[in-house]
Symmetry: C2
Subunit: 249 residues, 2 copies
């Protein structure tokens, strides 16, 4: 198998209301089955998810957590407002209202103006479907769309790209029942394909001033569905790591 | 940026003593700065890390954990012998003697003969350095080598490729001090590049009977060092998730 992955060049600074699909269609020649990957930061910007840090009044809980994390209490208040539960106080790992678990509820201050914060898209699976449909409209091509963020992991240093939304590609590829080289059935393998796609794209997008928030992965054969990334978020009931963290708090 | 990623075709069933570098050199035309990625399973096979399941006598602890996990007590004994500590009893998440944290100490039964198990390489960073040096000898090219395994994650369903060893590529790329698009210094970003490379490669290798355990990533600019993947394993003292899991047990 051979794939290629490349960034879309000359993407402008994204503003509220920008048509991300048009920005791609004007700069790249899409092919059917391409996977078009967007950094969540530009989806957030296009959807107007930028807020003034000063627009919020921190609670006592936010002040306490801010002290612990040497952070601005207003920033922490935004984190709490975007979370259903705290899993670790420092670093501030939370169950977000979006479904994913991450540090600071995925709220960014880098790559946006000083004094502002950028929330994750309200529903990144929906955003992915909308961009995918608009790309079809503009180019006639049937593609998949993945929206990524950069996240830390348990047990390992270093942040990697993960998917926070997807459309037209199955979040996971269930290989149970397929056979290995010796003819034995696989019992447990569920490939986190869309997160692997996200890591591959994130690696070429970069994290700083590269200015390349859109990547295209071409030549990969993937399973198609429209259930979004939410199917791979473990619930509180099935997630033993979450349970241990809740208990420790 | 544009990269390509492709699997090496016609790789045989790997046996103890096989020269993996030669297998690549005979089948692919390497270029300087290629990243050559090997599934740990074939490194283990080449290094003779295959053992007979029956060659071990399970302890009482192994029997108890086997019952809980509906597993063979002998298999669980191998897991315990390859672990320094249990983090979760079911699924059996352990701190391995190799440094990484994973389910079943990374011991495989798929893609190997029935009745046998395959342990992770003894020291995958060393294996990576050896293969890298041998590739230089055979081809004259200076490349990086990454050894991968397929692992689950906290909070998310789906397994992804991670690095268990590397040579010639820095496990993490520290971006602290670099500036974002607005000129602000990044404060926390440490890119887990080598794990992203592993995910990208794993995605094209597959998990079943594809028979493609070697992938080459070409065109990616990476930071070079020889410190291996171990630098990104968090210690018990700094890893709050591990601590919560230990306490819960
Ligand atoms: N051209 C352009 N690039 C951007 C913009 N915002 C972020 N980027 C780039 O997108 C990539 C990912 O940015 P990052 O802040 O890590 O996004 P996140 O991972 O979604 O939080 C980097 O290459 C940034 O330089 C933008 O508005 N325009
Ligand atoms: N040609 C060949 N392919 C193999 C061999 N062992 C495993 N593979 C393939 O390597 C890929 C990864 O296998 P997997 O069992 O998931 O390895 P792991 O991720 O390192 O545990 C799949 O495409 C397998 O079919 C082998 O001995 N020869
Ligand atoms: Mn982000
Ligand atoms: Mn990022
Ligand atoms: Mn394995
Ligand atoms: Mn695998």
């Amino acid at each position: 198998m051979k794939i290629s992955a490349f960034t879309v060049e000359d993407v402008p600074m994204i503003q509220k209301g920008d048509d991300l699909a048009k920005i791609v269609a004007d700069r790249a020649c899409l092919e059917n089955d391409d996977i078009v990957v967007f950094a969540s930061t530009i989806v957030s910007k296009a959807e107007g998810r930028r807020f003034l840090l000063d627009a919020i009044e921190p609670t006592a809980e936010a002040r306490e957590l801010a002290l612990l994390n040497k952070e601005d209490p207003k920033f922490i208040q935004y984190v709490l407002d975007n979370s259903t539960r705290v899993l670790l106080k420092h670093p501030l790992l939370v169950q977000t209202i979006y479904g994913n678990v991450c540090i600071n509820a995925g709220i960014d201050r880098s790559n946006t103006e000083s004094g502002y914060i950028l929330l994750l898209p309200e529903d990144s699976d929906r955003s992915a479907r909308e961009i995918r449909d608009r790309l079809k409209e503009l180019t006639g091509k049937t593609v998949a769309v993945v929206i990524t963020d950069t996240n830390g992991r348990s047990f390992r240093e270093g942040q990697i790209g993960v998917a926070v939304g997807c459309a037209g590609i199955a979040a996971v590829h269930d290989r149970r029942g397929d056979v290995d080289l010796f003819g034995h059935e696989l019992k447990i393998t569920i490939q986190g394909i869309t997160d692997e796609v996200a890591s591959c794209a994130n690696m070429i997008m970069g994290e700083a001033n590269e200015g390349t928030p859109i990547a295209i992965i071409r030549g990969y054969r993937y399973v198609k569905d429209d259930r979004g990334i939410k199917v791979c978020y473990r619930s509180d009931e099935t997630d033993l790591v979450k349970q241990a963290l809740y208990e420790k708090l």
